[in-house]
């Protein structure tokens, strides 16, 4: 992998951009297929920032102010901490007054990203091919570049959103870690992201190891240091060779054992340009070591050898690294083909559909069959339902937990299937709920969050699409998956109405109005052909509700006459 990255020559180009930077905070340089944006490593003046150790972290989302990177925190990964100086420098560049001292807003900072980058992307989206954006920087500049790359995941110019999205690549040279385990998790969720952050670390560069090993006495605060974690792909290099590592624990270990002698602490800045140049020349030399073992072991010892570390002196580390590789390998191979899982889910849907059909033959809606549970097949359904629920909960969660970088989280065919699943299975969950006496208010008390999410995604999709006249035909599945919950609630209301009326309560207008609202809701479904015809079977919960309601009726509406005249029998 290291060879591949080296062979692109991008590392050298990025480095030259960094060194050519002088006073300006950033530079933009086009190179044909890609454009390099280099960030300066000189930190902007920080006002009012505490310099203490514990305060090195900025927690996102911050309670007091919002950060442009808040989107990285997701449902199952709520806290993310970021190196505070890097974050300030980044915000400063972004010209975001929320976090930086307003007074310090230089004009040059405002000039920066929006204008420059938007122009850049606009220009390129015209000739079809988009440029690949490469953000580079050394030391703190690299940290800023990394934060900027993260920010870009969400904040692309409108033009580039339509085109095929090219994730920016970020190259840092000798930058310290910028975040904690939370950031690491956020990145690792998207497999692709890992390979878009390239951290170049030289063998005796102190800066990138800043948070790996406690350096100064003042830094030794228990717990504080251990919290910085690496992410992305590490390109470790020395005059002897180079290697790529992306397992975070292995990165930590390697940085630790290749740590720099404190005596060298004040050596001059590490010259990545010279090392990269040397490495290029090294390709022509042959490697003649004789490691032994299986291919993973050999690969790893070659990696260590490239760093000038003698493999045999670190057998323990080798074994540990090998274990990690093996675990990753096993996990990758063991991961079930998503298409296969999807297909299995479809099979369960087919079984459910057959169940619906059987119920219909008995002039029952499957909702009522499942609620009453008179036949053996009603119990078989529990199984299909559980399998499907598990599959979709997982799928939705997975999509939800990716830092949301695009507007439609699920691909079309998953979205359609998800909608079908919701319409078919949620009534079963509702039936499960209301078959227990005294249960009420499913929508607020019981509804699983993945249904809510699936519904929202579907709505977004519908909104994004031009309305096409649909065929006027009753649906096989009622469009509103919560229809039955609303019917049950209406039935409860009618009961209440009846009870209170019999007790002589005269203040019934509120209840009646609510029931009228429900009428309106049903009427709309009927006129849109959005109900399944099976709703009107004589024994259905809906018809039971109607019979009760009819006896309490004091008004006429389109809906009531539709029902009274028996027009519903012709609904199809």
């Amino acid at each position: 992998m290291a060879n591949l990255i080296l062979s692109t020559g991008v590392l050298q180009k990025g480095w030259s951009c960094v060194t050519e930077l002088q006073r300006q905070p950033f530079s933009v340089k086009p190179f044909g297929r890609f454009t390099i944006v280099a960030f300066s490593s000189s930190a902007p003046p920080i006002v009012g920032e505490a310099q203490g150790c514990l305060d090195r972290f900025l927690e996102l989302p911050d309670k007091t102010s919002s950060s442009p990177l808040d989107f990285l925190a997701t449902k199952d990964n709520t806290k993310i901490s970021i190196h505070r100086p890097s974050h300030s420098a980044f915000c400063h560049l972004l010209g975001n007054p929320a976090l930086t001292d307003q007074a310090r807003l230089h004009s040059e900072a405002i000039l920066f990203p929006f204008v420059a980058l938007k122009k850049l992307q606009l220009k390129k989206s015209g000739d079809q091919k988009q440029t690949q954006l490469i953000l580079v920087g050394r030391s703190l500049g690299g940290s800023v570049a990394a934060l900027f790359a993260l920010w870009l995941l969400k904040n692309r110019s409108e033009e580039s959103k339509d085109a095929q999205i090219i994730t920016p690549i970020c190259i840092t040279y000798g930058s310290p870690f910028i975040g904690d385990a939370g950031l690491q998790r956020a990145i690792s969720k998207v497999e692709k992201l890992k390979s878009h952050f390239w951290h170049v670390v030289g063998d005796d560069d102190v800066v990138p190891r800043e948070f790996v090993v406690p350096r100064l006495a003042s830094q030794v605060v228990p717990g504080a240091l251990a919290e910085f974690k690496p992410f992305g792909t590490y390109f470790l290099c020395s005059k002897v060779g180079c290697t790529c590592i992306d397992h975070p624990d292995s990165v930590l270990d390697l940085l630790r054992i290749s740590d720099v002698d404190p005596a060298d602490l004040h050596v001059q800045e590490y010259d990545y340009g010279a090392v990269l140049q040397q490495l290029k020349g090294k390709i022509k030399n042959k490697r003649s070591a004789q490691p032994q073992g299986n291919s993973i072991q050999i690969g790893l010892s070659l990696q260590l050898e490239a760093l000038g570390i003698m493999a045999h002196q670190h057998q323990g580390l080798l074994i540990e690294m090998e274990c990690r590789e093996t675990v990753v390998d096993i996990r990758r191979k063991g991961a079930q083909n998503p298409n296969k899982k999807f297909n299995d889910a479809k099979k369960q849907m087919a079984r459910l559909e057959w169940y619906m059909k059987r119920c219909e033959e008995g002039e029952m809606d499957y909702y009522d069959c499942f609620k009453e549970r008179n036949a053996e097949r009603d119990y078989d359904v529990i199984n299909f339902k559980n399998v499907l629920n598990r599959y979709w909960k997982e799928t939705v969660e997975e999509a939800e937990n990716n830092p949301q970088t695009s507007d439609v989280p699920l691909r079309d065919r998953f979205l359609f299937s998800g909608t079908r699943y919701r319409r078919m299975v949620e009534p079963l969950d509702i039936a499960d709920y209301y078959r227990k006496p005294r249960n009420e208010d499913y929508m607020n008390k019981k509804r699983a969050s993945h249904y809510v999410t699936l519904e929202k995604w579907h709505e977004d999709w519908v909104k994004s699409k031009k309305e096409d006249p649909k065929e006027k035909k009753a649906k096989i599945l009622t469009e509103d998956s919560c229809f039955w919950a609303r019917v049950e609630q209406a039935a409860l209301m009618v009961n209440e109405l009846k009870g209170r009326r019999e007790q002589g309560d005269m203040e019934l207008d509120g209840l009646r109005n609510e029931l009228k609202n429900f009428e309106g809701y049903v009427w709309k479904l009927i006129s849109n052909h959005a109900l399944s015809a099976t709703v009107f079977f004589e024994r259905s919960t809906f018809m039971k509700w109607w019979k009760q309601y009819e006896s309490e009726l004091k008004h006429n509406s389109e809906f009531t006459s539709y029902m009274k005249n028996g027009d519903y029998r012709r609904y199809k």
């Binding site: 692109t8 297929r33 994730t167 022509k284 690969g299 083909n337 296969k340 079984r351 057959w354 649909k470």
Partner: protein
């Protein structure tokens, strides 16, 4: 290689040199037994090396190369436009002399040969000959090249191997000859140095009358150091990239994608058998194409070996050492069990190179393993197919299985749905492997699989279509059409396979079975017309209807479509939507008439 073959190689080599600087497009020689040899002229014009974009990509290429694509997906390969245009010119200019000559000698073994650019012409001529005789028994043709550049990309190589043509190509290459790697480089980086290189090469020895032996050192000096550097680093990129593909660990795929966005790598890859001519007459023979790519880079490091084209003429093959059993290559030259004269040692490969070769061997093995896995599915697939066949037969007396499935009224319909999903699950897995080139190259022309795929398509696609319109999926996506996204790829692939295979076999072959002529999207077309007529009226669909009726008539006549299908509810619904005036003039009116008007009084007795 037998002595006779060595004799032939020597003969070809001297002919190739003669042809390289001759005035004619090719030189023909009949002196070796019954083998006519065609040697192609070389070229020093830069336009004959690089043309068009950075990598001289051609797309699409001439119709005389119909096989050079990935069959299932239909993705076409890339040929080098500069080399292709030159060959096209040869075909054209020779006023079909080449076709005629080739034709006249058809019964015999034909040999095409060439040096450098002439070698590329020989390769294209060989493919051309093989393509022209696709339906005949495979012509006995051999292609022997010396220091030829690469002509095609990964897909072209895949197609060559799929058709079983790989062994026709014998490429002799010096470890440090830049020409076979020249198309790894982008034009801009190399074009400036190219003319001088091309001129200084073979021209040193015009006519070839007095062979001059050149030391390897002075030969190297003929190329600018810069050119060699560009070739070297381009080859390094390619080898690193491919090695990443071969040894891709967990994140490898994403890194490859990231790198792809940064640098445009050359698409060209080797195919055929490669002979690396090392010092002292030792020749290493490599067949695995992925291994060849790696060696094309790693052998550039081989010290003291010949690099100029002239060397080929004086090179004396003493021994040919096959480099196979890639998986068991020892990791270092000092291994005790290792033979000093083994391929990797002759090529002086380092550990990195050896790891890559092992990975290439592993990959080949993995493909075979996948094939075994997939073959294991055949039983299940066939079981599903026979269940669905029974379903289809049972419905035949009634409304037909298309409409039965759409209505889903009986248990059998439900069971058919589950069977369909089971079958599709397996079949989709097979297709994904095909798509990722994870099966042996010959898979898509394996008759058994083509037959199986076609049976699946013909029997199951109507069910998928019924399912599609049963759920009104057309309201979510677009219509189900042969080329729309709504149609699953697992039907498109076998359809392309059959089309290709039919081009290879005589019409009497079972693959030409009439029952396979019916468009498997038949019912989708009927449904789409109904939707169209309903939405926009008959006039907007008129052209489609007329075209469709024409095809229906053809299918009825040849027996691909049974008249029963015309009585099915969906077909009837369609017929009912057509205006009377159109129906009266319809070419299938007679076939429909009894059903449409059961007791038609106007029909005379």
């Amino acid at each position: 290689m037998e002595d006779d073959d060595l004799q032939l190689v020597r003969k070809c080599c001297s002919l190739a040199f003669r042809a390289h600087d001759s005035d004619a497009h090719f030189v023909k020689d009949n002196s070796v037994g019954s083998q006519p040899i065609f040697a192609f002229q070389g070229s020093r014009s830069v336009d004959h090396w690089f043309y068009g974009d950075q990598f001289s990509k051609s797309k699409p290429y001439p119709t005389y190369f119909p096989s050079l694509k990935a069959l299932g997906s239909g993705d076409s390969g890339i040929l080098n436009l500069a080399l292709l245009q030159r060959f096209d010119q040869i075909l054209l200019d020779s006023q079909s002399r080449l076709p005629n000559e080739a034709d006249r000698t058809r019964k015999k073994k034909i040999v095409f040969t060439g040096l450098s650019n002439g070698g590329a012409a020989a390769i294209l001529a060989t493919i051309w000959l093989l393509e022209t005789h696709r339906r005949d028994p495979k012509p006995d043709v051999l292609c022997i090249t010396f220091g030829a550049p690469l002509v095609g990309d990964k897909i072209v190589g895949h197609a060559i191997r799929r058709e079983g043509w790989s062994s026709c190509f014998r490429n002799f290459v010096f470890p440090r000859d830049p020409i076979p790697r020249i198309h790894f480089c982008p034009r801009d980086e190399i074009a400036g140095d190219l003319p001088s290189v091309l001129l200084s090469r073979v021209a040193v020895n015009p006519g070839g009358s007095t062979p001059r032996t050149l030391s390897s050192a002075s030969e190297t000096n003929q190329f600018s150091e810069k050119l060699f550097d560009v070739v070297f680093s381009s080859a390094f990129s390619i080898a690193s990239y491919d090695s990443c593909v071969l040894r891709s660990s967990a994140g490898g795929g994403c890194l490859l994608a990231a790198v792809n966005g940064l640098v445009k790598l050359s698409p060209y890859r080797p195919f055929g058998i490669f002979y690396f001519c090392c010092s002292e007459g030792e020749v290493v023979k490599v067949e695995n194409h992925e291994a060849v790519t790696q060696i094309l880079f790693h052998s550039l490091l081989l010290e003291g070996s010949s690099s100029g084209s002239n060397g080929y003429q004086t090179y004396d093959i003493k021994k040919i050492v096959p480099l196979d059993n890639l998986q068991t290559i020892p990791l270092s030259a000092n291994d005790k069990d290792d033979d000093v004269n083994s391929g990797p040692n002759i090529l002086d490969l380092d550990m990195d190179a050896r790891l890559n070769l092992i990975a290439a061997g592993d990959m080949e093995q993995a493909r075979k393993k996948n094939l075994a896995t997939v073959n294991g599915y055949k039983h299940d697939i066939n079981a599903c197919l026979s269940k669905l066949q029974t379903y289809c037969t049972n419905c035949d007396d009634g409304i037909g299985y298309y409409d039965a499935f759409k209505l889903q009224q009986h248990k059998a319909d439900f069971e058919a749905n589950v069977t369909r999903l089971e079958l599709v699950g397996h079949w989709e897995e097979v297709r994904e492997l095909v798509k990722g080139f994870e099966l042996p190259d010959s898979f898509e022309t394996n008759r058994e699989w083509v037959d199986l795929g076609t049976r699946i398509r013909v029997l199951v696609e109507p069910i998928d279509i019924a399912n599609f319109y049963r759920h009104d999926k057309n309201e979510e996506t677009n219509l189900y059409k042969a080329d729309s996204r709504a149609r699953p790829n697992y039907y498109r692939y076998p359809e392309n396979w059959l089309r290709h295979m039919r081009g290879l076999v005589p019409e009497a072959d079972p693959l030409w079975g009439k029952e396979w002529n019916l468009d498997s999207c038949f019912w989708a077309r009927v449904e789409n017309m109904c939707i169209g007529i309903k939405k926009k009226g008959f006039d907007s669909e008129k052209g489609t209807v007329l075209e469709f009726e024409k095809e229906v008539e053809k299918w009825l006549t040849e027996g691909a479509l049974s008249e029963r299908e015309l009585k099915r509810p969906t077909f009837h619904k369609w017929w009912g939507m057509l205006p009377e005036e159109h129906k009266n003039n319809s070419r299938i009116r007679d076939r429909m008439v009894d059903e449409a008007r059961p007791a038609n009084p106007t029909v005379p007795n």
